[in-house]
């Protein structure tokens, strides 16, 4: 896979870029999009780009979406590239999703879950009919407010764990593996797997998660809990030595509960898969949780038979920026590679034809 140094073509490239920029702007009679419009009205796209770029900055994600003309993989690529220009100041304290200001919280396994089922601003119950009133820019109806407060929300997983029905999550404060700093070795530990999934392509996560439901490494999942809301970002600056709150991020967290039959040393209990994503992202968090559980197969003594249970396969192919780089590099000149292969094929054909003529 070698490339030839190619000279020439600069003028063609300049013209191509100029055309691209004009095409991006579209009809000059139509007002240009602002990044505030994108950040404010295309929130799901902004969140997806931030997740796949692995950089939370809604303003820059909106800019990247505009620059990429809505190509979200290209936008994530632009944002990921920008991140390499900044120094790392450190790490925040782990986000405490148990103290989330909950906007949405549903459980598919307990109807009367303590704290209640809070739907939040969901599209789950819409009929998926195109809303033509949006064409007229009609103002939205006022969202109702209720005076009964949203009380503390115990986690469904903790309720199950308290009863011994769910394998407990061992607490620890070790510094986690960092994909952006260290080369991934296999078998990948769970912290590395979760980081890889958190920045994985949503379509890939969805397809792989779906494959586990269709029998390729199935683990009979239930959506134990999905919660979405704002979580405080706290960090300890060196010069202060105590934690300060610097704002909040909106996160979606999903806890999948799966069957586990226990073993000789352990009575039967459920196991969990975990998903965490920037923004309101049920689909991403659920797919991540399915894959987190599927990739625990080997640790839980299950047979590893399906692609979703193979961390090396999943993590090597989940990153859409790496994937697009390798797939799209095929467009670059491979003149010499191809010429040498064509020569070889011509030689083999000539030899075979000569032999047939004998």
């Amino acid at each position: 896979m070698a490339y030839v140094a190619v000279k020439g073509g600069e003028r063609a490239i300049d013209a191509a870029h100029a055309w691209r920029e004009a095409a991006r702007r579209g009809d000059p009679a139509v007002p240009a999009l602002s990044t505030a419009q994108i950040a404010g009205q295309l929130g799901r796209a902004v969140e997806r780009v931030m997740a796949e770029a692995s950089l939370h900055d809604p303003v820059l994600a909106a800019l990247a979406i505009r620059q990429a003309e809505g190509d979200l993989i290209e936008a994530a690529f632009l944002l990921r590239a920008f991140r390499t220009t900044l120094p790392r100041f450190g790490a925040a304290l782990p986000l405490e999703t148990g103290r989330m200001a909950v906007r949405r919280r549903v459980s598919a396994i307990f109807k009367d879950v303590p704290g209640g089922q809070i739907l939040g601003p969901t599209t789950d119950y819409t009929h998926r009919l195109l809303d033509f009133t949006l064409l007229d820019d009609a103002p939205p109806p006022a969202a109702p407010r209720a005076s009964d407060p949203v009380e503390a929300m115990p986690r469904v997983a903790e309720l199950l764990a308290a009863e011994g029905l769910l394998r407990p999550e061992p607490a620890s404060e070790v510094t986690p593996f960092d994909l952006t700093r260290e080369a991934l070795a296999h078998p990948a530990p769970r912290d590395a797997r979760l980081q890889g999934l958190a920045r994985g392509d949503e379509g890939f996560l969805l397809g792989m998660g779906y494959s586990t439901q269709r029998g390729y490494g199935g683990s009979h999942p239930f959506a134990g809990e999905i919660r979405m809301g704002a979580v405080s970002v706290e960090l300890v600056p060196d010069e202060l030595g105590f934690p300060i709150d610097i704002g909040e991020v909106v996160l979606t967290e999903c806890q999948m509960v799966n069957q586990f039959h226990g073993g000789k040393t352990e009575p039967a209990c459920f196991t969990a898969g975990y998903g965490l994503a920037f923004g309101q992202a049920d689909r991403r968090a659920m797919a991540m949780a399915l894959l987190d559980r599927a990739m625990q197969a080997e640790e839980l003594g299950e047979a590893v038979t399906a692609p979703a249970q193979n961390p090396e396969f999943v993590l090597a192919h989940a990153d859409n920026i790496e994937a697009t780089g390798f797939v799209e590099h095929l467009k670059l000149p491979h003149y010499v590679d191809f010429q040498s292969e064509a020569e070889a094929v011509r030689r083999l054909r000539a030899a075979a034809l000569a032999k047939a003529a004998e």
Binding site: L55, D57, L86, L95, G98, D112, P149, E169, D191, V233
Partner: protein, 136 residues
């Protein structure tokens, strides 16, 4: 609270430059990355979720106090105003008035915004009622 505030609102509440001690920048404002971490299962061992952009600033007032701020995003003016407010809040001449004109209103409006979102969430709480079965 200052990190979550609107920069213009901090600027409007601070005393004008000729009525406050001169501030000297010790560091920044500078933009960088902070890694956010989650916990496995929400309660277990940490893992790296992804980074955020932050901007930080440290400055010192001529007569002593050092102010520090770290904000989310890349707004250098916001970081510097927040650091200045942090320093003035440690200054005996400014702490009490700024507490009244800046911190108390910020606390109130941030609490109101949180309460409003909680009230919207509460309105989407499902009230189940059991349907009578048809089997007598």
């Amino acid at each position: 609270m200052l990190a979550r505030a609107d920069a213009a609102r901090i600027a409007a509440a601070l005393p004008p430059p000729d009525a406050r001690p001169e501030a000297r920048r010790l560091r920044g404002p500078e933009t960088g990355l902070v890694m956010l971490r989650g916990r496995m299962g929400g309660t277990g061992a940490p893992f790296n979720l992804g980074e955020i952009t932050v901007t930080r600033c440290t400055l010192r007032l001529r007569d002593g106090p050092v102010g520090h701020a770290t904000i989310m995003g890349r707004d250098a003016d916001h970081a510097e105003l927040a650091a200045l407010a942090d320093a003035l809040l440690q200054h005996p001449d400014f702490a009490a008035p700024l507490g009244e004109t800046l911190i108390a209103p910020l606390a109130a409006s941030q609490a109101a915004a949180r309460a409003d979102i909680a009230a919207r969430a509460a309105a989407t709480r499902v009230a189940f009622f059991t349907l009578q079965t048809m089997r007598g």
